[in-house]
């Protein structure tokens, strides 16, 4: 077991290192900027970057800032990558940190969420479970097929993005997506008024009258970081990684993707629709929390959102019966 863990740590370090190098590879195209000055001074942590002449050079971490990837470059995926997410349903207790951090990270209005947490119950007698749902970044994405202007597109690294400067807001992609993943900017919002160059990789700033959704945070991946949701989850529910490299991590544990899926019987939700999602679920077995814990500590409005779920309805009925 000890050995295993060591391996895990190694592969995690490898993943992160490769992430940095992938970012460094794009220095030439101007994604990373060596600014030469930093508010916090030298961190002492050196990072290898490629210069335009092809030389490797060491720069202090704090001297690097990330210039957002522009609309045109964002059409290309990060080279050599194929991102995948694994969600461990056995651990989720609806802490909602993924929802909140994602909202913060993407500067979303209060009523817009990219990540949703469902209280699922597959059939009457089966057990209910919490089910976080990001965008599945399908390999056969309906949303991309139906878009009339090419505002939503599939990249080589598997990510499906939206260019909100081209989107006309017809909402066809929203009806095309069988997973109800996409959200619409229904009104002008102060959250959109931030002074920042637009990047489809960040989905910031949002634009009224256009569609947006979970973007798998490729801007963070370029920096070798996990998406906001995976970083924020206190239970380590969300693993993110690279399917070709066969590695996923939640920040503290790292697994071989193929082994994790094999050992824990991973599956894709509604796989029968032929959309070929890039998000896998681990079934809710040997759970760490009883399902009702997920309803604890929710504010009233959020709690109300689960009122029409079979679980909450049944709980109410049995309570009344008593």
């Amino acid at each position: 077991m000890k050995n295993d863990k060591k391996d895990d740590n190694n592969s995690r370090r490898n993943f992160l290192k490769l992430g940095i190098l992938a970012g460094a590879g794009t220095v030439a195209t101007g994604a990373l900027l060596v600014t030469g000055k930093s508010a916090s001074g030298e961190s002492g942590e050196k990072i290898k970057v490629l210069t335009t002449t092809g030389e490797v050079m060491e720069v202090d971490k704090n001297f690097l800032t990330q210039a957002p990837v522009g609309r045109k470059e964002s059409h290309q995926g990060i080279p050599g990558r194929k991102f995948v997410m694994v969600i461990d349903l056995a651990r989720c207790k609806n802490a909602r940190k993924c929802v909140e951090e994602c909202q913060k990270g993407h500067n979303l209005p209060k009523e817009t969420e990219f990540m949703k947490v469902y209280l699922m119950q597959d059939s009457e007698k089966t057990a209910p479970y919490w089910f976080p749902k990001p965008c599945y970044h399908c390999d056969n994405p309906q949303c991309v097929s139906v878009c009339p202007v090419g505002a939503t597109y599939k990249r080589t690294d598997g990510i499906v993005l939206i260019d909100n400067e081209r989107c006309i807001g017809c909402k066809f992609c929203m009806t095309g997506c069988p997973y109800s993943t996409r959200v619409f900017a229904w009104k002008p919002d102060e959250a959109y008024d931030i002074d920042q160059p637009y990047s489809p990789e960040k989905s910031v700033p949002g634009v009224e009258g256009t569609v947006s959704k979970c973007d798998f945070c490729p801007d963070l991946a370029r920096e070798g970081k996990l998406p906001y949701c995976a970083q924020a989850c206190p239970m380590g529910v969300i693993y993110f990684g690279d399917i070709d490299e066969d590695v996923v991590t939640n920040g503290t544990e790292t697994f071989k993707f193929s082994e994790l899926i094999r050992d824990r019987s991973g599956y894709r939700y509604l796989d029968n629709l032929g959309t070929r999602p890039n998000v896998y679920y681990l079934p809710p077995v040997d759970r760490q929390f009883p399902v009702e814990r997920g309803l604890d500590g929710l504010d009233e409005e959020t709690l109300k959102r689960y009122d029409n779920t079979p679980y909450v309805k049944n709980a109410k009925i049995s309570k009344e019966a008593k």
């Binding site: 009523e111 969420e113 949703k116 947490v117 469902y118 209280l119 699922m120 749902k133 309906q142 097929s145 139906v146 878009c147 009339p148 202007v149 090419g150 505002a151 081209r166 989107c167 006309i168 807001g169 017809c170 909402k171 066809f172 929203m174 009806t175 095309g176 069988p178 997973y179 109800s180 996409r182 959200v183 619409f184 900017a185 229904w186 009104k187 002008p188 634009v207 009224e208 009258g209 256009t210 569609v211 509604l270 629709l273 959309t275 409005e301 959020t302 109300k304 959102r305 689960y306 009122d307 029409n308 779920t309």
Partner: protein
């Protein structure tokens, strides 16, 4: 030249409608303008405050606007199909009503697409549809199909009008402003009715009639495919293309009968539009109604019998939350015209018109039941969404714009009937007989 005498007589009869507008007519136009202004205000409201003022939210992303879009496009294709078919079959009785069918086509074809634009979040980016159009998207198919249809129908209507425009130009007794006379002259393109002109016009009209029928079927199928290419449980159906085409023509015959009734009363056309016309169009409506009922039945039967989880959920919602509307659109809307037109004793002008009104309302509701309940029952249950965002309720903005669309339809119809006689004045005999012409009815 008995033909000329005949059409002059007709023109003399219709001249008062074109020359002046009655007090009631003016009131009617003023009322329509008020409704349209209200719609403009609603549009301003929506544009300035965002789509949040509509009832649409992240789950039900399409609402009444799309329903109106399908509805108006539907009645337009119906006009095209009816006038095209009757033209090709040389049905003699079509003469008094064909102009109305053509007006319905063109006017609703101009109003329909406005509704889909109301649904678009970024109207300023509409040029992207052309600049960055992707042929893979059914919306691009729709853009191509609808623009082809508008062009084709305008051409067909124009060809059909040409003879009458010539007559209007030559009819010196008409007391209309100079600009209007000039307009007739220009639009008549020097058509005087020589044998050569007659033959050419007939050939062109024949070709366009055939084209319009084909385009109408294609356009409405494409519209249906916007829904059925998605994976949504209520939409992902192979029958949707033909189902939409039939539903469209069905609603169109309804609107035609209502228009016949209104103009018959308003312009005193009792002599021209008789019970026989109502019965003839009624029979077409009956046949289409039977098809529509059959398609609806087989669509829901297979869903209900197979009872796949999501289909079952949809049907439950339809029968629980939308029970009255479901019965009205899919039972009353089918059975009433079948009974009224099916039994000889019930065939009166009033009865047939009432049946037609029911058909029009039922078909609007039918589209509503196709669009909204499906979006309310997606694959993933609607959860973790604000209570107000779960179900769809159209707001005053949407109703105001819907009313404005209907008012616009009536207004354009009224204006059209003020420029061109609502009944074709030139004689059908002016169409030279050719070998191979079909004669039905």
């Amino acid at each position: 030249m008995s033909d000329t005498v005949n059409s002059d007589k007709l023109l003399r009869e219709f001249a008062p409608q074109i020359e002046r507008t009655s007090k009631f007519g003016k009131l009617w136009i003023a009322f329509l303008c008020v409704v349209i202004c209200y719609g403009w205000f609603a549009l301003y409201w929506q544009v300035s405050r965002g789509h949040i003022v509509t009832g649409m939210r992240d789950n039900v992303v399409w609402g009444v606007y799309i329903v109106n879009f399908i509805f108006f496009m539907g009645i337009s294709y119906a006009g095209a199909l009816i006038s095209g078919t009757l033209h090709l079959f040389h049905s003699e009785w079509r003469k008094p009503i064909i102009r109305m069918a053509e007006f319905i086509t063109i006017i609703s074809l101009l109003i329909g697409p406005c509704f889909i634009m109301l649904c678009v979040g970024r109207l300023d980016r509409l040029p992207n549809l052309i600049l960055f159009g992707r042929i893979q998207s059914p919306i691009t198919w729709d853009v191509i199909a609808i623009s082809t249809d508008i062009f084709g129908c305008l051409l067909f209507l124009y060809l059909a009008l040409l003879r009458d425009l010539g007559k209007m130009r030559d009819f010196t007794e008409l007391k209309v402003p100079q600009w209007q006379k000039k307009m007739y002259k220009i639009l008549a393109l020097g058509y005087t009715g020589t044998a050569d002109q007659q033959l050419r016009l007939k050939r062109a009209t024949d070709v366009m009639a055939g084209m319009v029928i084909a385009i109408a079927i294609i356009v409405y199928s494409v519209l249906a495919w916007i829904f059925s290419v998605t994976l949504q449980p209520g939409w992902h159906s192979t029958i949707f293309g033909p189902y939409f085409v039939i539903a469209a023509v069905y609603s169109g015959t309804g609107v035609l009968i209502v228009a016949m009734y209104v103009f018959r009363k308003a312009y005193h056309l009792e002599e021209h539009i008789t019970l026989q016309h109502f019965v003839n169009v009624g029979v077409i409506m009956l046949v289409l109604g039977a098809f529509f009922g059959y398609f609806t039945f087989s669509e829901y039967l297979t869903k209900w019998y197979g009872s796949e989880k999501n289909d079952e959920q949809l049907i439950q919602v339809l029968l629980k939350n939308y029970f009255n509307l479901f019965i009205l659109s899919n039972y009353v809307g089918v059975l009433v015209p079948l009974i009224v037109v099916g039994f000889r004793k019930l065939r009166t002008i009033n009865n047939i018109t009432i049946a037609a009104v029911i058909v029009v309302i039922a078909l609007w509701i039918n589209r509503y039941l196709i669009v909204v309940p499906t979006l309310e029952t997606p694959y993933l249950p609607i959860q973790d969404a604000r209570a107000a965002w779960q179900l769809y309720h159209a707001t005053w903005v949407e109703w105001a714009l819907t009313a404005a669309g209907a008012a616009m339809f009536c207004l354009l119809f009224t204006i059209g009937s003020k420029l061109i006689p609502i009944v074709q004045v030139s004689d059908l005999k002016e169409e030279p007989e050719q070998p191979g012409d079909l004669h039905l009815m």
